[in-house]
Symmetry: D2
Subunit: 329 residues, 4 copies
Amino acid sequence: MLKVGLLGAGRIGQVHAVNIARHPGSTLAAVSDVHAPAAEALAATYGAEVRSSGDIIADSAIDAVLIATSTDTHSDLIEAATAAGKAVLCEKPVDLSLERARACLAAAEGGTVMIGFNRRFDASMAAMRTALAGGEVGTAELLSITSYDPAPPPVAYVKVSGGMFRDMTIHDFDMATFMMGEMPVTVSAAASSLVDPEIGAAGDFDTAVVTLTYGDGRLAVIRNSRRAAYGYDQRIELLGSAGALQVDNVTETKLVKSTVDGITGAKPTYFFLERYMPAYVAEWDAFVTAVTNGTAVPVTLADGVAALELAEAATRSAREGRPVALSEI
Amino acid sequence: MLKVGLLGAGRIGQVHAVNIARHPGSTLAAVSDVHAPAAEALAATYGAEVRSSGDIIADSAIDAVLIATSTDTHSDLIEAATAAGKAVLCEKPVDLSLERARACLAAAEGGTVMIGFNRRFDASMAAMRTALAGGEVGTAELLSITSYDPAPPPVAYVKVSGGMFRDMTIHDFDMATFMMGEMPVTVSAAASSLVDPEIGAAGDFDTAVVTLTYGDGRLAVIRNSRRAAYGYDQRIELLGSAGALQVDNVTETKLVKSTVDGITGAKPTYFFLERYMPAYVAEWDAFVTAVTNGTAVPVTLADGVAALELAEAATRSAREGRPVALSEI
Amino acid sequence: MLKVGLLGAGRIGQVHAVNIARHPGSTLAAVSDVHAPAAEALAATYGAEVRSSGDIIADSAIDAVLIATSTDTHSDLIEAATAAGKAVLCEKPVDLSLERARACLAAAEGGTVMIGFNRRFDASMAAMRTALAGGEVGTAELLSITSYDPAPPPVAYVKVSGGMFRDMTIHDFDMATFMMGEMPVTVSAAASSLVDPEIGAAGDFDTAVVTLTYGDGRLAVIRNSRRAAYGYDQRIELLGSAGALQVDNVTETKLVKSTVDGITGAKPTYFFLERYMPAYVAEWDAFVTAVTNGTAVPVTLADGVAALELAEAATRSAREGRPVALSEI
Amino acid sequence: MLKVGLLGAGRIGQVHAVNIARHPGSTLAAVSDVHAPAAEALAATYGAEVRSSGDIIADSAIDAVLIATSTDTHSDLIEAATAAGKAVLCEKPVDLSLERARACLAAAEGGTVMIGFNRRFDASMAAMRTALAGGEVGTAELLSITSYDPAPPPVAYVKVSGGMFRDMTIHDFDMATFMMGEMPVTVSAAASSLVDPEIGAAGDFDTAVVTLTYGDGRLAVIRNSRRAAYGYDQRIELLGSAGALQVDNVTETKLVKSTVDGITGAKPTYFFLERYMPAYVAEWDAFVTAVTNGTAVPVTLADGVAALELAEAATRSAREGRPVALSEI
C-alpha cells in the first residue's frame, strides 16, 4: 500500500485525491496547500492529515508525493522529493523556464519522477498508439492533433501561464512525441489572437497551427484554439503508409435527435475533467504499478522537459515568423 | 440495342424514360399514356413516338415494354406483352388482387417478366445481401427493416392504393424475402392510424409493426410509418450468428455543424426518388443485361406475387388481430 | 449518512458495494451472503461486518438494505425489510411468480421499495425520456428497443431464470413503460431458439420479437437475442409525430482505423457491467437522495410488478402463438 | 441550346462530354483531340463532329468551348477562344507558369472564362460555404482541409505536372479562398517525399502541410498526401467563433458490418471521378446557366490565377524552408 502525500489541493489536486483514495494500492496519507481550508476539506474527506509540503517530503513514512501545486514550485518540489527518496508524480508543465526544468532534470537524475501527461492514459489514445506500434496502418507519415478548449481562461491566468504553447499545447507536444516516437527537428508555428483581444494584448495567442518536421521527413500538425463553442474538441489522426488511425471526441450522451432541422447528436464532453477523468484514474494506476513493481514510469521527467522544448520553439517561431530548429533551443 | 416501349408517362415513368434513353444498350422508341400531353412531353424529350399501349405491344419492332401505368392495368398488360413476345419490366405491385396476380403469373409463364423492386438494386442493400450470402456474419437469425415515408399520401390515393401493406410495405416484404432467401410461414401485424385520422377513417393504417416467422424459427420485423418528419427513413439490419449487418440512411450532404446546440448532420434524402435514383439506373441496367444476354431476370413475376401474398397476410393479420399462416393465403 | 446492509455478495452485489461505499451519503455497514467467503471478502474491502440477512434486517441501526440475492428470495426479503422499516433497493425481477410478486406489492404497501431497473439511470436513456417529455419530437408513436446480449448464459442458469422474458426482456419491458408512460393493452411475441439448441430443449427462447400495442394505437417493438458476436447491443429508438430519438451503443474506445479493408470502429462495450456501470452509480445516488429527502423513489415496486406482467404475457403469447391481452394476466 | 465544342477527349474530357450531352441546355457539337481515335469515339457516342481545335474555335456556330487539353495549351486556347467570342470553361490549372497565366488573364479580359474548380460545386462543400456565409458558426477563424489521393500518379506524370502544389493542392488553395473569402498574406509549407522515393528524386513532394495566414490573423491549414490506402480522403473543417462546420467523406455504400473484429463501414469513394461526379454535373449546369443568362460565371479566370499564386508561394516555401509572403509572388 503506497502512502501518498498530495501537494496542492486545488481543482486538479482534488481529482487526484479521489483516485489516490480509491486505488486499492494507495492511500492518501497527507495533504498540503498554501490555502489551508482547501487542504483541510480534502483531508477530512479522505481521512488524511493536513501538513506542510516540507513535512510531507521529510516524512520517511510517506512513499510518494503527487505535486499539484502552482507551476513555479514544481522544480523545487521535484528536487526536494527525489532527494528525500520519494517517488513523484508531478503535474505538467515541469516549469515555465526551460533552463530551470533542465536543471531539475539533472538534479533529479536517478529518482523516480513521472509527469502527468494524462492523455497518454486515455483509452482511445493508448489504443491508437498500440495500433500504430503494431503496424496496423504501416509506418507513420502525417500526424494531426486537434485540441480546442471550450472557452478561454481569464486573462489574469493567461498572464502567468507561460503562454498558450507552454500551458495548453504542451499536452499536444507530448502527444506528438508519444505517437511519433521521437522529437522533431523543426517547429513552425502560426498563431493569432482571434478569440479574446485581451489575450493578444497580454502578448499571448489563442489560435494556432504548429507544424513539426521530423528528421526523416515525417510531419505533424497541431491545431489549437482557446474556444470551441460546442465543447472540448480533442481529436487525433495519423496517416500511415497502409491506412489511417483516428480518435474522435467522446460525447456527453449517445442520444441522437432527428427532426426537420437535421440529425443532432450530443456535444463532446465539456472540458478536460469530463473528457479525461478515466485517464486520470489510469494514470494513477500506472504510477502505482510502476512504483510498486520497481519498473520504469511510463512518462518521464525527460518527457516533460522535451515537451517544454517544443513549447519554447513554437513560441519563438510564432513570434519571429520563421521555422525554429530544435537545435536552437 | 433494345427498342423499348414505355407504358405510362407519370412520375415513375419519367424516371424510367431517362434511364432507358441514357442506357447504351436501350433506346426509348415509343411512349403511351392515358393522358396524352404527358406522353407527348416525354416522347418529345427523347425523340420517341406517342402511341397507344396496344399499338406498342403489337409492334414487332419493339423488344421490351416497361409498364408504369396504374396498378389495375398491370396484369392485363403483362399478359398481353408476354403473349406478344415482349420482355417486360413492370412496376410494383403486380396487382391489388392476389387472385388476379396469380392468374397473371400462370398466364405469363415462359415469358420474361421482371418486377420493379428497385431496392434490390440499391448499392448498399445489394452489398448487404452479398455479405450475408458470403457468410460474413454467419447465418441469418433476425432481420429488421425500417421503412418510413416522409409524409403520408393524400387520402384519395390511400383509398385506391390497396392499403399500406400492398402499396408501401410490399417493398419491405420483397426485401425480407431477398435477404432471408425464403418465404415466412406466419405473418403477424399490429397496425394503427396515428398519422392522419382520415387514413384510419378510410379503413387503412399508417403505422405498423409486422413480424415474420420462418420455418426454421428465424424472425424478421418490419417497422412502417407514413410520416418521418426528418425524411425518408430506409434502414435495414440483420443479426447473424457471427455478427450483424446494417444499412444506414443516405443523407442529403455530408455537412456537420457543431454548435452549442449539438452536433447536427444532414437529414436523409427526402423520398424514394432521391434515395433510390441510382437504384433505378441499376435496375434498368440489370433488365437490359438479362434480356440482351438471354439470362434470367433478377426479380421475377413470382417474386411480385410472393410479396403480394405477404401483404395479403399482413392485412388480414392486422384486421383480425392474430398471426396469419401463409398457408391460409 | 445512510447505513446500508447489502444482502447478496455475488457479481451484482459487488458492483453495488463499491457504489454504496463511495457515495458520500451512504456507508456499507453489513454484508450477508449464503456463501460466507463472498460476504467476508466484500466486508473486508469496505470495512463492513458480515452478518446474516435476518440480523441485518432486524438491526435498527441499519437504514436501508440492498437486495442482490437470488430471485426466489426477493419477495420474502422485501416484505421483511419493509416490515422492519428499512428502505429497500431490490434487484430485478421482483419474483419469478407474478402471483407472489403481487402479494409482495400488497404486503409492502406504504414501505419504500425501489426496483433496480438500472437502464432508467443511463445518461442517454434518461436524456431520451427528457427529450420526449419535453415534446422535442412531438408525441410518441412507435418505440423500438434493441437488446442483445453478447453471449448466452449457461443452460443451468437458463433453467432457473424464469425464461428469457422474465430474466432479460424484463429490462426492455420496463424501458417501454418508462418511455411510453403507460402499460400496453396487448403483447404479441414471436420467439425461437436459434443460438443454443439446449436453451430450446430447456423450454426457453433465445431470440424474440415482442410487439406491444397501446390503448391509443401506439406501438412498441422489442428485439432480443442472447448472442451478438460484436458485444452488448443496447439501442432504443422512438418515432414521434415531429421526429425521432435514438440512443446508440457506447463503444469501448473512440478509435477508428481506416485501411483497404474499410473503416473500422470499436465494438460496443462488452456487457451490462461495462455498459451500465455509470447507470448503477446514478441509480444508487437516486435511491440515497430519495430516501434521505423522504421523496418518492423513481422506480417503484409496482413498476417491478408491471414489468413482470409484461413478461408473463409475452411468455404466454410466444407459447400459444397469439396476442395476449394484459387483461388476461 | 448552347452549342459546345469539347477540346480534349481524354479521361476528364469524357466526363464533360456526358454532362454536356445530357444537359437540357447544351449540346455537344464538336470534339477535338491530338489523339484522333479518342475524339472519334466520343464524337460517335454523342453524335458530334470531329474537328481541330482551331476549326472549332473559328466556327461562329459554336457558342462555348470546354478546354480539357493538356495544361501547356490552356492559356493559348483560352486566349484564342475568348478572342473568337466563345464562352470558355477551362480545366485547372490555368497554366504551370504563373507569368503566362497572368498574361492570359490580361489578354482574356472582358471574355467569359470559368475555371473548373469542381469542388465548389460539391453539394456538401457548397452547403458549408452557405452555412458559413449565413453566420451559422459565427466568423471563420481556422480552416482545415484534408486532401489525400488514394495512390500516387506515375513519376512520368509527376515530372510534367508542375509539382504537387500546382497539380493537386491547387484545388485546396481554391477551396481555402472559396471559404475564407480572401487571399492569405503568407504561405508556409512543410513537404516531404514519403510515399514514393522516385517522386522525391524527381524534385517533387508527396506529403505536405501548408499553413496560410490571413491579414486579420485568421489561419488555414492544408494536409496533403499522394496516398491514402483507404481511398480518396476529402474532408474540410472550419472553426468559427460560434461553432464549427465539417464535411466528411462520401462512402461507397452505407453498409456497416459488426463482428468480433469491430464495426466496419465502407471506405470513401475511390478517387475524384467517383467522389465528384455530381459536382462535375453541377459545375456544367452553373456554366450553362451563367452563359445562357449572361450572368457572371461563379469561378473566374482570376480565381484560377489566384490559386496558382498560392501554389507558387507554397512551392517556394517548401523549397526554401521559410514562410513566403504573397507580396513576393
